[in-house]
Structures are given as structure tokens and as C-alpha cells.
């Protein structure tokens, strides 16, 4: 489903991703682990189209369609969703208004009918109930004054409503206590589907106790230096990243 081939990415003059290749088949969850500065966030921003991340070589396709030539909103309409490590506060825009605008913009881009207000409210109510989000909260401006856990839940809520094909979770566990982590992880696990792929980016193994990956990759020095099953995450937790940092150097 997601296919990345020999990707090179620079920020300014500095090359951060140096020939990364990765395939995630539909229905699978892959984890990317790596030390700080390995290029984890660069990879998630590059896939979602943030400006300032220059792809100098290589390709990334979703279901065979090129992603890298599209702007962020077009990628979203194709099914890419990045769950931010630090979700932004959007003052003055009620959460419901924002999510509906996003849903309808995506539908419009795909040539689908827009969601009417009653349809959308039903969808939002159901999704909020599953994530134990108080519906009243969705009338407040998106993320403004929300706790870390609430912001992450809002990310999952958006995912549940927008139904993306490719989920990229960038350090979703950061800033979460155990209870919030469990609720968020349950939300993510509920999104698992045969026609959906997930890329879970994390520094710590802890998140992978809750979101079980099919494959684990180690990112160091801008490349994938090791791949394996879930046991690789446990090994990293025990032995650290040092051996891979040396391999990458």
C-alpha cells in the first residue's frame, strides 16, 4: 500500500534521510523506532507534505500513486493522515466546524457528495462516544486549552471521522499517562482494517505494548538499519540504540 523507495530528504543543505526504503502492505502496522535525530519526524513530515523538506531523490507512493508531487491537502484526500506529536491549537474554530470542513474538503477533492449537517453530527457523536469524549468539548475551539491527552484523543477522533488509508502516528505516546495511552491506543486499534496501513513512529517500546506492530524497523542515520518482528522492539528496549547508531555511522 505505502511504498517508499530510496528516499533522500534534506532540510536546507543538510541531508536527513539518506536512502530510505520501506513497504507497508495493506492491513499491516509497521513501527519505526530510532534514537533522537534519526530522521523519524522528518519522515512523517515528508510523507504528509510539509514545506521545507526537500526530496532530492527517490519516491513514495500510496496504492501506486505518487505522493511527493501533491500538496498536503491533496495527500489527505488520497488518504494520508498524520497524527501530530504536538497537535496545534486552532483558536476561534470550533472542533466540529473544523472536522466537518476537513471531511467535506476531502470529499469534494475526491468528487464525493459532501456530508450534510445531520449526517455529520451523527458521525461525530458516535465517534466521540467510542473515544469517551464529551460531545460538549467539540463545540470548543480545536485543542485550545486541552490537555496533552485530550489533544491526542482529538487526533484519533479526526482519524475515525476522516477514515484515512494511511495512518502515520508521530510519537503518539509522548505526553500521555497510562490511562490516556490506553484510550488512545484502543482508538488506534479500532482503526485497524484490511484496506488500511499504519506507520507508528516512536522512540520508546512502551506504545508497542498497546499497538502491536506486524513489523518493526530501526531508523538510524537516515536509513533503515534493521527490520524484524515485534521481538525487535523488545530487544531495543533491552539493549538500546547504540549498536545501530554505530552501524549507521
Amino acid at each position: 500500500m505505502l511504498s517508499i523507495n530510496n528516499l533522500h530528504v534534506s532540510i536546507g543543505e543538510k541531508e536527513i534521510i539518506k536512502g530510505l526504503s520501506l513497504d507497508i502492505p495493506a492491513g499491516e502496522v509497521h513501527a519505526i523506532m530510532g534514537p533522537n535525530g534519526a530522521g523519524k519526524s522528518t519522515l512523517s513530515y515528508t510523507l504528509s507534505g510539509r514545506s521545507g523538506y526537500d526530496v532530492t531523490e527517490g519516491s513514495a507512493t500510496l496504492n501506486g500513486e505518487d505522493l511527493l508531487g501533491l500538496d498536503p491537502s491533496e495527500r489527505a484526500a488520497k488518504g494520508v493522515f498524520l497524527s501530530f506529536q504536538y497537535p496545534l491549537e486552532i483558536p476561534g474554530v470550533p472542533t466540529l466546524t473544523f472536522i466537518r470542513a476537513a471531511l467535506n474538503a476531502q470529499r469534494k477533492a475526491r468528487g464525493e457528495a459532501e456530508s450534510t449537517a445531520p449526517q455529520f453530527l451523527k458521525l461525530a457523536r458516535e465517534a466521540a462516544a467510542k473515544l469517551k469524549i464529551d460531545f460538549e468539548m467539540l463545540k470548543r475551539p480545536l485543542n485550545v486549552g486541552f490537555s496533552g491527552g485530550e489533544k491526542k484523543r482529538m487526533e484519533i477522533l479526526q482519524m475515525a471521522i476522516l477514515e484515512p488509508k494511511l495512518l502515520i502516528l508521530d510519537e503518539t505516546d509522548s505526553g500521555l499517562d497510562i490511562d490516556a495511552l490506553r484510550i488512545v491506543s484502543e482508538g488506534v486499534n479500532a482503526m485497524r482494517a484490511p484496506d488500511r496501513a499504519m506507520l507508528v513512529i516512536t522512540h520508546y517500546q512502551r506504545l508497542l505494548d498497546y499497538i502491536k506492530p506486524d513489523r518493526v524497523h530501526v531508523l538510524a542515520g537516515g536509513r533503515i538499519v534493521a527490520s524484524g518482528g515485534p521481538e525487535l522492539a523488545l530487544e531495543l528496549e533491552a539493549n538500546g540504540y547504540d549498536q545501530y547508531a554505530q552501524a549507521a555511522a
Binding site: 507534505g49 496545534l88 476561534g92 474554530v93 473544523f98
Partner: protein, 347 residues
């Protein structure tokens, strides 16, 4: 030194310019080399006024400075709405006008004051004298919706009384040179003033929102929030001055001005001033000029909203805070619609 004097005497040397401190950023003298001929009398326009959705109990129309009404006294009792429509129907001519507005004790008025023009290159000056009785309440919504090549100056002198409330929102889209001044004499004694502003500028438009508010006695409250969006080579000017005179203790005054520059070349000049001669006061001001938050913009785009729409969303949210403070609901809705329309043109 004033535009009205220059128009009346047809003497351009009476114009204020950038060498005058109060006109530093709005160089009237530099813009107007000569005073044009006097505007002829003209008929009131057949078109609907700006903010036409707001239903008014009374209407005063001023065309090229002329009106059948020179003084309006609000009726006491139930809240009323007055529409004041200041129209220029002029081609390269100049005019000035005046109106006195009196609010008796306990009266409650919403003033919908709009400035518009047909024709081109006109020069307009309009003055409003407002006096408020005890316990009177006035919400003044001013919309400056004028042609790009107009020169337009308007000023209001406001006298509050104890326990009265004056609330104002000025919405400006600029002109060749547009300036709106509000001077408020604040008697304290529980009286409150709100002086809000909003400017949305593009092309080479210029607007100048100037306020001077003087707290003359204890226990007065003032809040002020002005926001601006400036694009292209447009220029926004905010001059906000709050004076707290000696003895005006327990004055509470807050001033905020925040603007976004939408591209290089856009300009905002801000001069917030607090002059405090009393000891026991609570005064604060905040002033920021920045650009659209690129992180927020990317976040919104990553959810599927195209860039132009994402920018419009952020801009609408930014100025929405000022619109939300308008208390008169039909006026608030009408202003919101006007702003949304203007923003669509901007993004």
C-alpha cells in the same frame, strides 16, 4: 490643522501631514496637494446601504456632507436602532459634514454608522459629536466601506456621563487615505467604554484608526481590542492613547492591538500610548504584529483543507474575536457576513 478647515477655506496649507505627530503615519498633506472644488448636492443613493440586514428604527442619510438633520436626540425607554449612512457621490470634489447625537439619561441606542462612496477620488470629512446622559447606553458600529481612491477622514467626540456605557467597533477596509478618530472623555464613576477596531486591507489601501481616551475621574473602565489583516502594499495604522488624569484612581484600562501581515510589503504602524498621572490604577497594553502561523497552516492543510481555505479559516478566526464582542446580534451577524465576504477576496 485639520481636513475640515482645509476644505472650508480651500487652503491646502491647513492640512496636517507627517510632520505633525498625530499624523505621522497618515500624511494627508502629502496625499492632497490641493483642495478640490466643493462637491455638489446629490440625491441619496437608490442602492441598499452596507449592513442593510440590520433593521433600524430611524435613518439619517448624509450625502456629500449634507443632511436634513443636524442633531438627533435618541428617545428614552426601549432600545432603539439608528442608521447613519454617510455617502459620497462625488467625482474629484471635496465636502464635509457634521452631526450631533444626544442620548438622554437612561436611553439605549445602537448606532449603525456606515461610510460608502460612488464616483471617484473624492475627499470627505465627517464629524460626529456624541453626548451621553447618565445611565445611557450606546453601541456604535462603524463600517468604513469606501472606494480605493477616496480620501476620507471621520472623527467623533464622545462625552460620557457617570454610569453610562459606550461601546464601539470600527471596521475599516481602507481607502487611498482613510482615518477614523475617536476622542472619548471618560468621567469614571462606573462608566465604561469599549473601543474595538478591525481593519482588513489589500492593494494599496490605507487606514488609520486613532483613539484618544481620557479618564478624568475615578472608577472608570476601558477595554480596547483592535485587530488587523494587511495584504499587498496596504498599510494599517493604529494609534491608541489612554490618558489617566491625576485623581482618576481605580481606573481599569486595557488595550490590545494585534495585526497579521500577509506578505512582505504590507505594513502596520502601531503607536499604543498609556499616559498615567494617577497612582492607584490598573492599566495594561499588548501589541503584536506578526504573520500567519505556518505550523497551524500546515496542520489544517494536512487534514485536507486546501491552502487558500486554510488561510481564510485562520484569518476569520483571528478577526472573529473582535466581531464576537459586538453585542447587538443582527449587527454582529451582518458584520460577520461582511468580514467573511471581504476575506474571500483577500485569500
Amino acid at each position: 490643522m485639520s481636513l475640515v478647515k482645509a476644505i472650508q477655506t480651500r487652503d491646502a496649507s491647513a492640512l496636517p501631514g507627517r510632520r505633525d505627530e498625530a499624523w505621522r503615519y497618515s500624511d494627508l498633506k502629502g496625499v492632497l496637494r490641493a483642495i478640490p472644488d466643493a462637491s455638489p448636492a446629490a440625491a441619496a443613493p437608490a442602492s441598499a446601504p452596507p449592513l442593510a440586514e440590520v433593521v433600524a428604527d430611524n435613518e439619517i442619510v448624509v450625502v456629500n456632507g449634507r443632511s436634513t438633520v443636524m442633531r438627533f436626540v435618541a428617545s428614552a425607554g426601549a432600545p432603539r436602532t439608528l442608521r447613519l449612512r454617510v455617502v459620497a457621490s462625488a467625482e474629484h470634489t471635496a465636502h464635509s459634514g457634521l452631526l450631533a447625537l444626544e442620548l438622554p439619561d437612561g436611553s439605549d441606542l445602537t448606532l449603525i454608522e456606515t461610510y460608502e462612496g460612488s464616483g471617484s477620488g473624492y475627499v470627505s470629512d465627517f464629524g460626529l459629536a456624541i453626548s451621553m446622559g447618565e445611565g445611557a447606553r450606546l453601541e456604535r458600529i462603524v463600517l468604513l466601506d469606501e472606494p480605493a481612491d477616496a480620501v476620507s477622514v471621520s472623527q467623533a467626540e464622545v462625552e460620557l456621563s457617570a454610569t453610562s456605557a459606550f461601546r464601539q467597533t470600527v471596521i475599516a477596509s481602507g481607502a487611498r487615505l482613510q482615518r477614523h478618530e475617536t476622542h472619548v472623555r471618560h468621567p469614571g464613576g462606573g462608566a465604561e467604554a469599549r473601543l474595538d477596531g478591525l481593519y482588513i486591507l489589500e492593494a494599496k489601501r490605507h487606514t488609520d484608526l486613532t483613539t484618544v481616551l481620557t479618564h478624568a475621574a475615578p472608577d472608570g473602565t476601558t477595554t480596547q481590542l483592535t485587530k488587523g489583516l494587511v495584504k499587498d502594499q496596504a498599510r494599517g495604522v493604529f494609534q491608541g492613547k489612554i490618558v489617566v488624569e491625576e485623581g482618576a484612581d481605580r481606573t481599569d484600562a486595557r488595550m490590545g492591538h494585534h495585526a497579521l501581515l500577509l506578505n512582505d510589503g504590507a505594513e502596520v504602524d502601531a503607536k499604543p500610548e498609556l499616559e498615567i498621572y494617577a497612582d492607584d490604577v490598573s492599566c495594561a497594553h499588548g501589541n503584536t504584529v506578526g504573520s500567519i502561523d505556518e505550523d497551524a497552516l500546515f496542520y489544517i492543510r494536512s487534514r485536507g483543507i486546501p491552502e487558500a481555505e486554510a488561510r481564510a479559516l485562520l484569518m476569520e478566526a483571528f478577526v472573529g474575536e473582535v466581531v464576537d464582542r459586538i453585542e447587538h446580534e443582527p449587527a454582529r451577524d451582518a458584520v460577520r457576513a461582511w468580514v467573511a465576504d471581504r476575506l474571500r477576496g483577500l485569500s
